[in-house]
């Protein structure tokens, strides 16, 4: 790891000010992406601004039809939250199959979506549930937030403060878990909104990161059941292909994971 200067601000405003002072600053949340990348010398920020102990960024609130998770809340705290289990149990399940117990104690929802790894779990939940990302400057719809591989709508120095999820009628998540990295080889989140709309998002599938799957949405809107997808074919055009699986394999996984997710959602 190259040399860096570590800062631990106690408020979002202080963090933004520190960020602006560094020549090449980076925000640190749980550190389970940034620190490994710094160790590999693929990132060499002049200043690391730790958001992990900022109280206004930690916590979970459920009110009426909205579940709000603040950005520096850890996966473990999300997984354990009675509010999450009650309002959107699929999110509690998603965090329970994310990483391993030690990673879940450190990793945060804000860190996951700011990084936008093409195989991360949370981007699929945000897009499928139609969540809203709030930052220190504005609100961004999940559909507009994720801009492709490791790219988001965030501007330099902008901080995610919270994510708000509309509570759905039904939601489910299933993934084919890579046994070593525990990332999603492919994962699918399915949502039936209270208004009857169906939104389906896949991670670990497209070369452009998280994606909606219209062909599955149409089929599930007509008939919310795993069987409704039996004859659906997901195109392999633009799908990731690597040593873990071909584009065609991943396209098929999108369908199979969607079927399992619908079954899980009930």
């Amino acid at each position: 790891m190259y040399e860096t200067i570590y800062h631990r601000p106690s408020s979002v405003d202080e963090a933004v000010a520190l960020f602006g002072k560094g020549s090449d600053s980076k925000y640190l949340a749980g550190g389970h992406t940034l620190i490994p990348v710094m160790k590999q010398r693929l990132a060499a920020p002049s200043d690391v601004i730790d958001l992990g102990k900022i109280k206004e960024l930690i916590g979970i609130e459920a009110s009426g039809d909205t579940l709000t998770i603040k950005a520096a809340t850890t996966y473990f705290d999300i997984m354990q939250s009675a509010d999450v289990k009650k309002s959107i149990p699929a999110i509690a399940y998603l965090t329970s199959v994310l990483g391993d117990p030690a990673v879940r104690y450190r990793g945060t929802i804000g860190g996951s979506i700011a990084n936008n790894d093409p195989a991360a779990d949370f981007p699929a939940a945000l897009v499928s549930l139609g969540a809203t990302v709030k930052t220190n400057k504005r609100s961004i719809a999940a559909d507009d937030f994720f801009k492709g591989l490791f790219t988001t709508a965030l501007e330099d120095g902008e901080i995610i403060t919270q994510v708000s999820f509309p509570v759905p009628a039904k939601a489910g998540y299933e993934k084919m878990r890579h046994p070593a990295s525990r990332f999603a080889l492919t994962g699918v989140f399915v949502t039936k909104t209270k208004a009857g709309d169906v939104r389906v998002a896949a991670t670990g599938a497209s070369q452009n990161g998280v994606m909606r799957v219209p062909v599955i949405e149409t089929a599930l809107k007509a008939n919310w059941s795993a069987g409704a997808l039996d004859s659906v074919k997901v195109s392999d055009s633009g799908m990731l292909a690597d040593i873990h699986g071909s584009a065609a394999y991943r396209a098929n996984l999108v369908k199979v994971m969607a079927q399992r997710a619908v079954t899980a959602a009930g």
Partner: protein
């Protein structure tokens, strides 16, 4: 350079380290607590697991600065003098180690697992929960036996306190 102040194994300590220092290096190189191991150095193997404020985390993926002000417990801090922690005793009695490299991390993770699943731990849960700790010798069988054994012993020792 920064001065990092934290509590390690119940003692207040302070060290002057570069900001890029990882917690595992602070423990091993500045505090000479070499029981915590570096295995893969990529947060996968779990040889470096310590407790920060009671939570079992991978100290190779935590900056020393992030742990400032926290309570850190390492493998050196769990016995009471010569009296081993029930988890250590269970690993010994069940032959839960061979080369021993992964053992400090296994034990620190396992104590956390027992705390989180107090009174309702089964074999499947132990196997699932240990997925972040890799052992290349034992095939895990005796480690799982040890954790289940220790879960019973920890319940008894808590009841006695």
């Amino acid at each position: 350079m920064s001065t990092i102040k934290l509590t390690v194994n119940g003692k207040a300590v302070s060290a002057d380290v570069e900001d890029r220092t990882l917690l595992v290096h602070l423990l091993r190189e500045n505090l000479n607590l070499t029981g915590t191991h570096v295995g893969c150095d990529t947060s996968q193997c779990g040889a470096c697991v310590v407790h920060i404020d009671g939570r079992a985390v991978k100290s190779c993926t935590v900056l020393a600065g992030q742990a400032a002000g926290s309570n850190v417990t390492t493998i050196e801090g769990i016995s009471k003098g010569d009296e081993l922690h029930p988890m250590q005793l269970a690993f010994r009695d069940n032959h839960g180690l061979q080369c021993g490299y992964c053992t400090p991390g296994m034990i620190m993770s396992s104590i956390d697992i027992v705390h989180r699943h107090a009174g309702k731990l089964d074999e499947e849960t132990v196997r699932q929960e240990l997925e972040g700790n890799i052992c290349r010798c034992t095939g895990y069988h005796n480690i799982v036996k040890a954790v289940l054994d220790a879960a019973g012993r920890m319940k008894v020792s808590q009841a006695a306190e």
